[in-house]
């Protein structure tokens, strides 16, 4: 227990340190630190629409972040959420546009299912390479993300392009209003219930099922798991599928929720931020929810800040990057320490 508390405390300390460092840099650059942080509070909570905007950004971060947490549980660093998110959104869009005269209560679940399946497939390819050939999944999932972004670009600029669109960036047609589950704000009871339900299911899977515990064993020590008769490859494949499913679902929610259409390169960092969300949340479901809301707020503030101050939004991106950096350092250091103490004990 004290060990758990210590990990939370050191993570919180890293986030605090990021704020301090960012404040120092801003101060040196001649901005008023007080203005910046009051701007952050305003842009994420107090300004009209800010709180719901924070939630809106927290939702995809949470869904993808849960996928990352699931991956880590079995020892896989699946950082391909971005690509899985994109192809999921594309699949949902294809279903919806192809069946635009269908009844919403049928089309939307079908679209979500298509998104889930496509996200799974996008994640299973690196997953297969990992369990079969031992290919480093960090590289393959990352590369698959770039391919996913190009798929989106191709579809929105080609087959799914809105021919009457006038904007400079390629975008698809809007889906009919009947298929939207939120208004433009991106928050509605439906979405919150849906995402909350998914989070509860993930918690149940990880903490209360045989399979969740099997994943934990595989993640902690695959050799021991093998000796216990656990089919480590099968667990690995299912694990990759689950991560991909969650990120794909996030894509569908984005489409049916705030977006309503797909634009080339939309939400370009959400999949990567989600990795940081999961790490800050210490790879637990509850922690990931808290971290998703925090980063959602930050994202909302980034969009809001240029409106209220003369501060460029990269100032907050800096804060964001600082948190990502320091939390990753803390995480890697903890891992190394654990590995080192393990090696020591084996040698003796």
């Amino acid at each position: 227990m004290t060990d758990g508390l210590q990990r939370w405390a050191s993570t919180a300390a890293m986030v605090g340190l990021s704020f301090l460092l960012t404040a120092a840099i801003l101060q040196v650059s001649g901005y008023g630190v007080g203005d910046v942080f009051s701007g952050v509070i305003e842009g994420s909570i107090t300004a009209p629409g800010a709180a719901s905007s924070s939630i809106r950004w927290a939702i995809p971060l949470l869904l993808i972040g849960l996928g990352v947490a699931v991956g880590f549980r079995a020892g896989f660093f699946n950082v391909g959420g971005q690509g899985q998110f994109y192809v999921g959104a594309c699949a949902a869009l294809a279903v919806t546009l192809g069946w635009s005269d269908g009844p919403a209560p049928l089309v939307i679940p079908c679209g979500m299912l298509a998104a889930v399946v496509t996200g799974m497939a996008w994640s299973l390819l690196p997953g297969y390479l990992r369990v079969r050939f031992g290919t480093d999944e960090v590289l393959t999932t990352l590369m698959m993300s770039f391919i996913g972004a190009l798929v989106l670009q191709y579809l929105t600029a080609g087959p799914m392009r809105n021919p009457s669109g006038t904007g400079q960036t390629a975008a698809s047609e809007r889906i009919p209003e009947a298929f939207r589950i939120t208004d433009g704000s991106g928050v509605s009871t439906t979405v919150v219930v849906l995402v909350g339900g998914v989070a509860a299911l993930v918690w149940l899977l990880l903490e209360r099922t045989r399979f969740g515990m099997t994943m934990t064993l595989v993640g902690r020590n695959p050799t021991m798991a093998r000796w216990q008769g656990i089919d480590v490859r099968r667990v690995g494949l299912i694990n990759f599928a689950l991560s991909g499913a969650l990120a794909g679902l996030a894509g569908a929610v984005e489409l049916y929720g705030p977006a309503g259409r797909l634009v080339t390169g939309f939400s370009p960092e959400v999949g990567f931020t989600a990795v940081v969300v999961a790490l800050v949340g210490l790879l637990s479901v509850g922690g990931t929810i808290v971290a998703a809301v925090f980063f959602g707020g930050l994202q909302s503030a980034i969009l809001f800040l240029p409106i209220v101050t003369d501060l460029p939004s990269p100032a907050l991106v800096l804060l964001h990057g600082m948190v990502a950096f320091l939390v990753t350092v803390r995480f890697r250091a903890a891992r190394r320490q654990r590995a080192a103490s393990g090696a020591e004990a084996r040698a003796s």
């Binding site: 227990m1 149940l204 903490e207 209360r208 099922t209 045989r210 399979f211 515990m213 099997t214 934990t216 064993l217 902690r220 020590n221 050799t223 021991m224 798991a225 093998r226 000796w227 216990q228 008769g229 656990i230 089919d231 654990r338 103490s341 393990g342 004990a345 084996r346």
Partner: protein
């Protein structure tokens, strides 16, 4: 001996050790070892695992500083634990596990690791090739210099290690178990090469396991046991193989030493559900029929192994480590595929059956390395204890489990086996070695057990814990389970086994029935001919 014997550089022995001692905590890796090795000859060092052979090699090579004593090479005293000084004195080492970088080409790897001076930091590939072509030809190597190390067969990699060692103009060459991974033909080729080196005046020190190989190559032999030099160096021609084999194994009567230790504590394996009365039905629980498997990086594969274990029986597996014991256990566990033959568990063919199914059929395992294979060090005790329960009932019940229930069951089992712990949530690496083994036993020796494969179950345990594990195994036999006991502790095997097989080079070299003749078992382990 017709080989020319050039005198050592200083007229004395090439290597002289005086009362070397190396201690790891309470373990005596080397104790009071003094020996002189004459120049220009081939000296074999033999002994069981843990006898101190590799430690001696490390001390000579400067990789390990001795606690006591000193080493002289060619008449000069070496500073303790200084690799460079040993190398400058002309001492070169070929390690047990190969050290050339796998992704390098032959020429690159040799240039990188060559011990001689004058390597330039910028080079031309053609120069590099020309230089090493010469060195390779010198030792009879025929390897393309542009081949990558990882694409080479084991024996070529090894001869490159030797080339690398000799490129520094070594006068003394030390090889630590060089034949462990070689086929007989490759071994012969290696020996031929070593003989030629000796004829050129190089002193060769070679650590070996098999007396047949010692007979083939050695001029003198020295035997280490429990860190002490118990025999030699003595001329090979003046000693019988039987005497060497006895020196290796030691001839102390075994069984009395252990009996009656820690008698207050009775193991109570939880096998109360339907115990089979002892020896009423001689069911065969495990049968291996001409099983062969592929070799791994560290061990030969199985070679046509026939083996069976009946109910109420402990079958011992003896052998010098690295003779296929690991392959045997992982093949039975279902972790390694067989290339030929069949594995029959509980009367049903299990050859293609998954590891998990075998567990469901009552196979239980105590793996070799308890800290990496037996437990997850960072996972909590209850999860470690529950591992088998997670798969064992996957099909019958709902996917949901009660964590509280698992924790309670784990606590009950661990209390039953007297694991000493504070909380079921503490990580497993907080337990001592003996307690980790109790944890593993509490998991494996649970109801449903039919057949136990125990690999080195008492290695590294203290006296009390060892006694406890041995009594648990006997209790299992009493209750009608079958036990396959793989151990390098001969005393343990003699004490517990109803029958004994000796593994050698991946095959079963000999079978014994109690009472055992230690020197006959020792001969089978080392391949000695009397």
């Amino acid at each position: 001996m017709t080989a020319p014997r050039p005198p050592g550089p200083a007229g004395g022995p090439a290597v002289r050790c005086r009362s070397l001692g190396v201690y790891f905590g309470a373990v005596r890796a080397l104790h009071d070892v003094s020996l002189d090795l004459a120049a220009g000859r081939i000296h074999a060092v033999v002994g069981q695992n843990g006898a101190g052979k590799s430690t001696l090699a490390k001390v000579l090579g400067g990789l390990q500083a001795p606690k006591t004593g000193e080493v002289h090479i060619a008449g000069r005293r070496l500073p303790a634990g200084d690799v460079r000084a040993a190398r400058d004195a002309g001492f070169a080492m070929v390690h047990q596990h190969f050290s050339l970088p796998p992704s390098f080409t032959v020429a690159e790897a040799l240039e990188l690791t060559a011990a001689r001076g004058g390597s330039r930091s910028i080079y031309r590939r053609t120069d590099l090739h020309r230089r090493w072509q010469h060195e390779l030809a010198d030792v009879g190597g025929e390897t393309a210099l542009s081949t990558r190390i990882r694409d080479l067969p084991v024996e070529t990699r090894q001869s490159l290690e030797i080339v690398r060692a000799l490129a520094s103009e070594a006068r003394i060459l030390m090889l630590d178990e060089p034949t462990a991974l070689l086929t007989p033909a490759a071994t012969d080729a290696l020996f031929e090469r070593l003989r030629r080196l000796r004829d050129r005046g190089v002193t060769v020190i070679i650590v070996l396991h098999k007396l047949r190989e010692v007979a083939a190559i050695a001029d003198t032999v020295s035997v280490l046991r429990d860190g002490e030099l118990v025999l030699g160096p003595i001329e090979w021609s003046e000693v019988s193989q039987g005497r060497i084999s006895d020196a290796i194994v030691g001839s102390a009567p075994a069984a009395e030493r252990i009996a009656g230790v820690g008698a207050g504590e009775t193991p109570r394996p939880g096998l109360s559900e339907g115990p089979t009365p002892p020896n009423t039905n001689k069911r065969t629980l495990l049968e291996l029929v001409r099983v062969s498997s592929r070799e791994s990086a560290f061990e030969p594969g199985l070679r046509s192994v026939d083996l069976n274990v009946e109910a109420g029986q402990i079958v011992g597996v003896a052998g010098v480590e690295g003779n296929g014991q690991r392959a045997l256990v992982s093949t039975i566990a279902g972790l390694q595929p067989v290339t030929e033959g069949s594995v029959i568990i509980g009367g049903a063919d299990a050859t293609g059956v998954s590891a998990g199914r075998r567990r469901l059929q009552g196979l239980r395992l105590v793996p070799f390395d308890r800290n990496s294979e037996g437990i997850s060090r960072s996972a909590p005790l209850w999860l470690n204890q529950s591992a088998l329960r997670l798969i064992a009932s996957r099909r019958q019940r709902s996917p949901l489990v009660s964590v509280r229930g698992l924790k309670r069951q784990a606590a009950e089992a661990m209390d039953h086996w007297r694991v000493r712990y504070d909380s079921v949530a503490q990580p497993a690496d907080s337990l001592s070695g003996g307690n980790v083994q109790r944890l593993i036993l509490s998991r494996e020796l649970a109801p449903g057990l039919e057949l136990l494969v125990a690999a080195q179950p008492t290695r590294g345990l203290d006296f009390a814990a060892t006694g406890f594990v041995r009594r648990s195994l006997r209790e299992l036999r009493q209750q009608g389970a079958g036990v396959l006991l793989v151990s390098s502790d001969l005393d343990e095997l003699f004490e517990l086994s109803d029958r004994l097989v000796v593994m050698y080079g991946g095959g079963v070299a000999a079978r014994f029935e109690a009472p055992y003749d230690p020197s006959a078992v020792g001969d089978a382990m080392t391949g000695a001919v009397r």
